[in-house]
Amino acid sequence: MHNEYKTYNCKILKINPEAADSKTFTLSVSYKGFSFEPGQYVMVSVPGFGEAAISLSSDFNEKKFFQLTIRKCGTLTSAVHNKKVGDYLGIRGPYGRPFPIDLAKGKIVLIVAGGIGIEPFRPLILDAIKNPKKYKKVYIFCGSRDESTMLYAKEYPAWKKVCDLSLTLDNPKSKKYTKGQVTTLFDIKNIPTDALSFMCGPPIMYKFVMAKMLEKGFKPENIYVSLERHMDCAQGVCQHCAIGPYYVCKDGPVFSYVELINFKSWLSPI
């Protein structure tokens, strides 16, 4: 019987330091049938330290390698950061429901990301750069705390060639960045309200951004959010990630906003 908890060792090919205490690991694909779509995640493990769910953040058209951007924030991620090129990380997956990018073909796409929430969108952005005619237009709203927490800043010039990138910082040190929360960008930029929107960020961001978007006339059926919960099994059995009738590991992490509005539970999903 196939054991879903089996992990496969993937060799680390490259390590790039990033802002916000993170590092991007480039890993070689080491098992058959590995392919993913933006929004999905893998369970990353180091023997002796446990497992954690990390979003896949490389171009999903690449078949030989994939990338994970991992922030150092605990014992497991510290053990991952101590790895060198040539070491291995235990991987199983990919799991989860991805962003519905098939619906976005030929349409205007708005990406709203808070802090390290830009990670699951990098596959989509790299795909748009590779296939500039695939999406009608890609707008990116990215908010962060300050210059030191801007993730993938070195790639922004390449992104700007194909996408419309707008940044805000809560506490910018230099004057060239807009100061404020991500919500201020909705007042500065005029996005067509029939755009397909994908969002990922801390729970507090959803509350304010949703209110702003509904105020501007965006429709709930065009909004998709990526939620986060503690995950152990990644298969909808252990109950740690459960919200209402859904499991964030299996029915998510991407949910349509319509599903969340019709959410029939006292425990708020966001």
Partner: protein, 329 residues
């Protein structure tokens, strides 16, 4: 099968298998334990304090051994075991667990070596009254290997699987009927009580119930331990003394424990974030699992009405009183 022959059958079972059955311990509590002598066997209407999940979903289970980067799967090696005297409510619970873990290699390995023998004695504590008295046509919706319909002095035997039939054939007993498992849902459709509670929890939420329970519940988690259907687990790695070796394991977890919904915090100044912080949220989540999520995922009730949680709660919270309040308009 008469009493005498039944005793011979139990002796026969004990020869090659570990027979687990309800028995009174020295203090007078009814527990599940390995049957050493047939006179200790209890077949009656009282439910044992433990549920059968202890023996098929162990509280602590090793999943993998690792050495350096090599990870090796360790499937559980157990003696073949026989659950003797499983009440109808516990059969319902085991049917649900079988469905939840149908793709779990570790659970299936233990289940392959387990024979389940149910009995028809309807437990005294039986809230939903699905089974007010034993009726043969209800058997096709329960998963078991053998079933004993206990009459005055003899037992009518049913088999529910090939393993059960093989056991009887090897013993030399041929007078049994076979019940083919027809899936968990009855012909009349989904259970109306289950649908009513799910509908009430989702559409007629009464905040007062949960605030009151939040004040009384101590988050001790005893209910999650005794409940035959609670199956939350967490995974953890263990490092051995020998360098670069260790194991990946899983153990029971409880949604009442503080770390259940813990994730890394958004900023280094706030290193961890928990989604549940009040008792009311946690106890609501537990009820939501049994009465909303399980019926949604499996179309089966998530509570079998055994009352073990009510009997064990140190705060005297009674699940059946709470259900009646949830259903009250």
């Amino acid at each position: 099968m008469h009493n005498k022959k039944f005793e011979q059958f139990v002796d026969y079972l004990r020869q090659k298998n570990k027979v687990i059955a309800p028995q009174y311990d020295v203090e007078g509590f009814l527990h599940l334990a390995e049957l050493k002598e047939i006179k200790d066997l209890y077949l009656g209407t009282k439910l044992p304090l433990d549920s059968w999940k202890w023996f098929i979903l162990p509280a602590y289970q090793k999943m993998f051994d690792y050495q350096n980067q090599e990870i090796k799967e360790i499937l559980p090696k157990i003696r073949s075991q026989i659950f003797l005297g499983v009440s109808i409510l516990d059969l319902q619970a085991l049917t649900l667990l079988n469905q939840v873990f149908e793709k779990d290699a570790f659970y299936q390995q233990i289940k392959k070596r387990t024979i389940i023998i149910g009995t028809s004695l309807v437990p005294e504590e039986n809230f939903y009254k699905y089974f007010e008295k034993f009726e043969e046509d209800k058997l096709e919706h329960l998963q078991f290997d053998l079933f004993l319909a206990i009459q005055k002095n003899d037992y009518k035997i049913y088999s529910g699987s090939e393993d059960g039939q093989r056991l009887l054939d090897d013993f030399g007993y041929k007078d049994y009927s076979h019940i083919e498992y027809a899936g968990p849902i009855r012909e009349e459709g989904l259970d109306p009580q289950m649908v009513a509670v799910k509908d009430a929890m989702q559409n007629r939420h009464n905040q007062k119930i949960w605030d009151d329970l939040g004040k009384r519940c101590m988050q001790c988690g005893k209910c999650t331990i005794v409940c035959p259907v609670c199956f939350c687990f967490r995974m953890f790695d263990q490092i051995n003394l020998e360098p670069e070796t260790g194991s990946r394991n899983r153990c029971w977890d409880s949604c009442f424990y503080n770390e259940f919904t813990q994730v890394a915090g958004p900023v280094p100044e706030a290193p961890k974030h928990r989604f549940f912080n009040t008792t009311a949220q946690k106890i609501y989540f537990w009820y939501e699992h049994h009465f909303v999520r399980t019926p949604t995922s499996f179309s089966l009730p998530g509570c079998v009405g055994c009352g073990r949680c009510s009997r064990t709660c140190p705060a005297d919270i009674d699940i059946f009183t709470t259900i009646k309040e949830i259903l009250r308009k």
